[in-house]
C-alpha cells in the first residue's frame, strides 16, 4: 500500500474534524426568512384586537407611506422590551401597526397598559393564519411595508435599541 493511501483515513478524519469545529464555531443561521420580500403583502382581513383600536387589513397597509408591521403577543417575553424600542420609533414619526398572535383582548389591553402602546392599528390573529401567510415563523417579527403595500424588509426577533437607526434608514428607503 502506498504511503498516500495509508494516510488517507487520517487525512479524511482531519478534514471531518476541521468541518465539525468550523460548524461549532460558526453555528448555522436557523432563522427562516420570509420569501415574500419585495412582494405585495398577501390579502388579509383581521378583526380588532381591542375594542378601542382599529383593526388591521392588508388594504390598510398601502397608504402611500411606509409602515412598520409588528407581529407580537402579550405572552411573548422579548416583546416586552421591544415595545419600548417601538415607542422610540413612534416618537421619530414611524407608523406602527400590530398583529397580535394567539391573543385575547384583555391580555393585549393589559400588555399595552403595562408596557406602552406604540400601535396605530392592531389586528387579532387568533390562529396564526396571517402570520403564516406572511411567511413569519415566530414572535416578535417586523415587516417594513412601503407605500404601495410591498414588503421591503423582514426583521426576525425583537428590534433592539441599537437597530433603531437601521430601521429608520430602511423605512426611508421604502418611501
Amino acid at each position: 500500500m502506498s504511503r498516500a493511501v495509508r494516510f488517507a483515513p487520517l487525512a479524511l478524519l482531519l478534514v471531518l474534524l476541521a468541518g465539525l469545529i468550523w460548524r461549532l464555531a460558526t453555528p448555522a443561521d436557523t432563522n427562516v426568512s420570509s420569501k415574500l420580500k419585495d412582494q405585495p403583502v398577501p390579502v388579509f382581513i383581521l378583526g380588532a384586537a381591542l375594542p378601542t383600536k382599529p383593526a388591521l387589513s392588508s388594504s390598510d397597509l398601502a397608504t402611500g407611506r411606509p409602515r412598520l408591521v409588528n407581529i407580537f403577543a402579550s405572552w411573548c417575553v422579548p416583546c416586552i422590551t421591544e415595545v419600548k424600542v417601538l415607542q422610540q420609533l413612534k416618537a421619530r414619526g414611524v407608523t406602527i401597526d400590530g398583529i397580535a398572535v394567539r391573543d385575547r383582548s384583555e391580555d393585549v389591553a393589559d400588555f399595552l397598559a403595562r408596557n406602552g402602546d406604540p400601535y396605530e392599528r392592531i389586528g387579532s390573529d387568533p390562529q396564526s393564519q396571517v402570520q403564516i401567510s406572511l411567511g413569519s415563523s415566530g414572535v416578535p417579527e417586523s415587516f417594513v411595508v412601503d407605500g404601495r403595500g410591498v414588503i421591503r424588509y423582514q426583521h426576525i426577533g425583537p428590534i433592539e435599541a441599537n437597530e433603531v437607526p437601521m430601521i429608520l434608514r430602511t423605512l426611508e428607503k421604502a418611501k
Partner: protein, 139 residues
C-alpha cells in the same frame, strides 16, 4: 440543609413549565381533530408528515406539539376540506417559507448532489470490486 434545598430546587426546575412560552388560547379547532372524510384526512396526514415545523426545526408539523405547528395542521386540514390539492397547499407554503418548509426533496440544483450521490457511490463500489476481482485472479 443546603443540599436538601439544592435537591428541592432541582426537583422544582425539573417540573417547571417554561413560563409564558405559549399563549393562553386553546389549540386551533382542526389541529388535533381528524377530518370526517377518511380520504381527506389521509391526504392531510400525508402532507402534514412532509411539512417541517418552524419552531422545533427537525420535526414535522404532525409530530410537533408547538402551537404554530398546531395552527399549521389546522390550516392544512381546513384547506383540504375546502377542496384544495395537497400540492397546491405545499406550493402556497413554499412560496412563503421557501423549499425549507417541505421535507420532500426537490429537483432544484442545490439538491442535485443528493440525487447523484447514490449513482456515484455505486460506480465507486463497482470500480473497487472490479479491482479486487482482478487482483484476486492475478494472485
Amino acid at each position: 440543609m443546603t443540599s436538601a434545598r439544592t435537591a428541592l430546587v432541582a426537583l422544582a426546575l425539573t417540573f417547571a413549565a417554561p413560563a409564558l412560552a405559549d399563549s393562553n388560547l386553546p389549540p386551533a379547532y382542526w389541529s388535533d381533530r381528524q377530518l370526517p372524510d377518511p380520504k381527506q384526512e389521509a391526504e392531510a396526514q400525508a402532507l402534514m408528515a412532509e411539512l417541517r415545523c418552524l419552531v422545533c426545526q427537525g420535526q414535522s408539523i404532525s409530530d410537533s406539539n408547538a402551537e404554530l405547528a398546531g395552527d399549521m395542521r389546522d390550516l392544512v386540514r381546513r384547506r383540504i376540506a375546502a377542496g384544495q390539492k395537497p400540492t397546491e397547499i405545499r406550493a402556497w407554503l413554499v412560496q412563503r417559507y421557501g423549499s425549507w418548509i417541505s421535507y420532500k426533496p426537490t429537483a432544484e440544483p442545490a439538491a442535485w448532489p443528493l440525487w447523484l450521490a447514490p449513482l456515484v457511490l455505486i460506480l465507486v463500489g463497482g470500480f473497487l470490486i472490479r479491482r479486487r476481482i482482478r487482483l484476486g485472479t492475478r494472485a
